[in-house]
């Protein structure tokens, strides 16, 4: 009797496509990477933004609409980082699963404590992120919270694999904790850096260094020649431990400042995949921290 049942199940399993993979659409590469750690073989991930794109300046493209059209769950950074393309994608996709308020609309920022929430903000301050600094993917503790949120969201959508998501989360948690120790031991504390954009605030908060000045006079506003002159003078005087930038955003200006002042330019990947070795969130953080302490 029992044997028959097993045979029956074995026969049934390949014939039943009922356990189709959960279709996850992630806006940014780091979100796709973390979702992959939690979902593993239970999910099929499409990442919308390419690692060489500036996440602040993404235009909606037809392939993005096609991907969101079929999504079971849309995972995004939130804090208005995707404001330039996500609302149009959600509307154009006509996908009821991912509309705001639905379980398939997953805002990762709901799971993190946000830094730099402005008390008052207007656009005379530049293109300030009005809901707070959205670049929290450099914070291991926050990524862990996001991963926890993902595990429960995926379990809710796909209850038959809830145990798998739970197990994947446990593995991920252990790996993050171990890495936190390793990264925490690096000599980052007390250091002072100048940064191009307000991108590294969470990194500074988690790893105990300070950012003393920005190359952008205001967020999103490129520096004028006069401002660069002023920075050369200021950086030359204060001699910070480095000038932080990313491969695509402010690289030119930082290279110029580094050359003029002799202070090291530090190129940090802005997301998973932005530099050749940063293939997942862990190696992205490895590269980030090793660039800092180099």
């Amino acid at each position: 009797m029992r044997k028959t049942a097993i045979v029956l199940i074995a026969l049934l399993v390949p014939a039943t496509p009922a356990f189709a993979k959960v279709k996850v659409v992630a806006t940014l590469p780091w979100i796709g990477s973390v979702a992959d750690e939690i979902g593993k073989e239970q999910v099929e991930i499409t990442t919308l933004v390419k690692p060489n794109q500036d996440p602040h300046m993404v235009d909606a493209r037809p392939s993005m609409i096609l991907a969101t059209r079929k999504a079971d769950i849309l995972m995004y950074n939130g804090l208005d980082l995707e404001i330039g393309y996500l609302p149009i994608l959600i509307e154009s996709s006509r996908n009821p699963n991912i509309q705001p308020g639905k379980p398939g609309n997953f805002d990762c920022s709901h799971f993190v404590t946000v830094l730099e929430k402005p008390v008052s903000v207007d656009r005379s301050m530049g293109d300030v992120h009005p809901l707070g600094n959205p670049h929290y993917h450099y914070s291991p503790a926050r990524i862990l919270s996001v991963a926890e949120g993902m595990a429960s969201a995926l379990s809710a959508l796909d209850p038959s694999h809830a145990d798998a998501y739970k197990a994947n989360l446990a593995t991920f948690r252990e790996k993050v904790r171990a890495k936190q120790k390793e990264w925490g031991a690096l000599p980052t504390k007390g250091k002072q850096f100048v940064a191009y954009h307000k991108l590294f605030e969470y990194l500074a908060a988690d790893f105990g260094f300070t950012i003393t000045a920005y190359v952008e006079p205001k967020p999103g506003i490129p520096p004028s020649a006069a401002y660069i002159e002023h920075l050369i003078e200021a950086i030359g005087r204060s001699r910070p431990n480095g000038i932080l930038t990313t491969p695509i955003y402010g690289r030119k200006e930082v290279d110029f400042l580094a050359q003029k002042t002799g202070v090291r330019g530090v190129v940090i990947p802005h997301d998973v995949g932005a530099t050749p070795g940063a293939k997942d969130w862990f190696s992205f953080m490895d590269q980030t921290l090793s660039a800092l302490v180099k």
């Binding site: 500036d54 300046m57 235009d59 909606a60 493209r61 037809p62 392939s63 609409i65 096609l66 059209r69 079929k70 208005d80 404001i83 330039g84 996500l86 149009i88 509307e91 006509r94 009821p96 509309q99 308020g101 404590t113 730099e116 929430k117 402005p118 008390v119 008052s120 903000v121 656009r123 301050m125 530049g126 293109d127 300030v128 809901l131 914070s139 503790a141 926050r142 919270s145 936190q180 120790k181 925490g184 504390k189 605030e201 500074a204 908060a205 988690d206 790893f207 105990g208 300070t210 003393t212 000045a213 920005y214 006079p217 205001k218 967020p219 999103g220 506003i221 490129p222 200021a234 695509i248």
Partner: protein
């Protein structure tokens, strides 16, 4: 409430509450049992305080679970020393206060819709006199001159309002305020939860016909609409039409959007407000889009609109009644390899056929005559824009009577004069995403009489409020 709590502590809140409630008491009606009210008040305050304490405990717990490896609470040093201090940063204890910022009048985002205002103003210079401009038409196409003054012009301050109505519908409205008053350009709902890739739009909206037609003038790549738009639909395009639209995005490996519309049909160059009782303009369109490499996108597709016409815009002192067919084909290529570099090549071909009767003179006038008229005419524009950081240069060429130029009155082809065309160059500076300054020069040869209009525009576009997403 929670916000005050974070800043001032429970004691302060309690005092405040008591003060507030006592004030209410004083001003409330006489004869009330003050004793019992005070008692209720005290109970409420106590209950609220308990709730606050619980919430605080929860917040503290959550915070400690979030603490980084190096320093738990390192995250609390939010305010970093910067020389320019662009944003006043909140300390974590004040987090609750920011909730107030999401709404417009101090409420939450839920009670206030998203609002934005776009101001479009320009200076206009021309080699022609104002009197000549006021009578400058495109003979054979339209008798409507462009409404501009030499010198300073105020186009509009456009108010945009949008918000989800409920989980099923989103409402959009666009209200341009001009010097002559307020219009309702658009007010429509869009469905968000229909199955099968379907979407319904209804109310008053810009038709999905063509490309520039669906955009608001401030989103155009030049100050004015191209000549074929002006000739067939008017200087503002078709404008908001009352009706309903159904679009479908079938599940295919390529992007393909199919749409149909039933419209009241009131555009005064295509249909005319009193062409027929009830809706009489019907649209069908398809838009397909593909990606070419990592940075390129191409979009193209045909559109067709058909309706009854009753219009005074063929020539002065005439009325045309009959049928209108307008066919369009749009093509856009976008190349965006990096943040600071981009190129757009865009073109639309329009072909309009009208058959019916042209009455010359007033209907009431016994001397007025009627003659059969067929207009089968076309036009195209081609434009390119290249972006380098915050600058953009653009060029446009538009021409009418490209392949078809039939204007057959009483069976005989009319000779209307020279072929209308224009050439335009523009330079834009975008100091931020919310400001655009545009200098545009146009050589306009559209009046068929050989009289050139050399035009110069200096335009300023400013936007405040909610950030509207860019469509592709």
């Amino acid at each position: 409430m929670a916000a005050c709590m974070h800043m001032g502590g429970p004691m302060k809140i309690r005092c405040l509450l008591v003060l507030l409630f006592s004030a209410t008491l004083v001003s409330s009606s006489f004869g009330e049992d003050v004793e019992s009210r005070l008692k209720t008040l005290e109970d409420t305050t106590k209950a609220q305080q308990q709730k606050f304490e619980e919430q605080q405990r929860l917040i503290d717990e959550l915070k400690s679970s979030l603490g980084g490896p190096s320093a738990p609470g390192a995250a609390e040093t939010a305010a970093l020393p910067t020389p320019s201090k662009p944003v006043q940063t909140a300390t974590p204890g004040q987090e609750g206060t920011t909730a107030k910022l999401t709404g417009i009048f101090g409420g939450s985002a839920m009670t206030n819709p998203y609002l934005s205002l776009v101001v479009n103003t320009f200076f206009y210079g021309s080699t022609l006199k104002q009197k000549e401009l006021d009578s400058r038409t495109v003979p054979g196409f339209t008798n409507v001159p462009v409404d501009v003054r030499k010198g300073f012009n105020f186009d509009s301050a456009e108010l945009f309002i949008f918000a989800p109505v409920d989980p099923y519908l989103t409402l959009y409205a666009n209200i341009p305020v001009t010097e002559s008053g307020t219009e309702l350009e658009e007010a429509y709902f869009v469905t968000s939860s229909l199955p099968g890739g379907l979407q319904v739009k209804g109310g008053k909206f810009k038709s999905g016909f063509g490309r520039i037609n669906g955009q608001h003038p401030h989103a155009w790549d030049f100050v004015d609409a191209p000549l074929n738009y002006r000739a067939f639909m008017g200087a503002e395009g078709m404008g908001g039409e009352k009706g309903i639209q159904v679009t479908w995005l079938p599940e295919l490996p390529i992007y393909l959007q199919l749409g149909i519309e039933a419209l009241q049909g009131e555009n005064d160059q295509l249909f005319g407000a009193d062409a027929k009782d009830g809706p009489h303009a019907f649209t069908i369109f398809a838009k397909t889009s593909m990606e070419i490499g990592d940075s390129g996108t191409i979009l193209f597709g045909p559109s067709f609109i058909k309706g009854k016409a009753n219009i005074p815009t063929v020539a002065d002192n005439t009325t045309f009644t009959g049928n209108t067919d307008l066919f369009g084909f749009e093509m856009v290529y976008k190349w965006k390899p990096s943040r600071g570099t981009g190129f757009i090549l865009q073109s639309e071909y329009l072909y309009r056929k009208q058959t019916g009767d042209l009455r010359m003179g007033d209907v009431a006038d016994p001397a007025s005559t009627v003659a059969p008229l067929t207009r089968a005419q076309d036009g195209i524009y081609v434009q390119g824009l290249y972006q380098i950081e915050r600058w953009r240069v653009g060029a446009r060429y538009d021409v009418l009577d490209l392949i078809k130029k039939d204007y057959i009155l009483s069976g005989s082809q009319q000779s209307l004069g020279k072929q209308p065309w224009r050439a335009t160059g523009a330079l834009e500076f975008n100091p931020s995403e919310f400001t655009r300054v545009r200098l545009q020069y146009t050589r306009d040869e559209s009046s068929r009489d050989g009289k050139t209009n050399n035009e110069l525009y200096l335009q300023m576009l400013l936007g405040i409020g909610a950030h509207a997403a860019h469509s592709f």
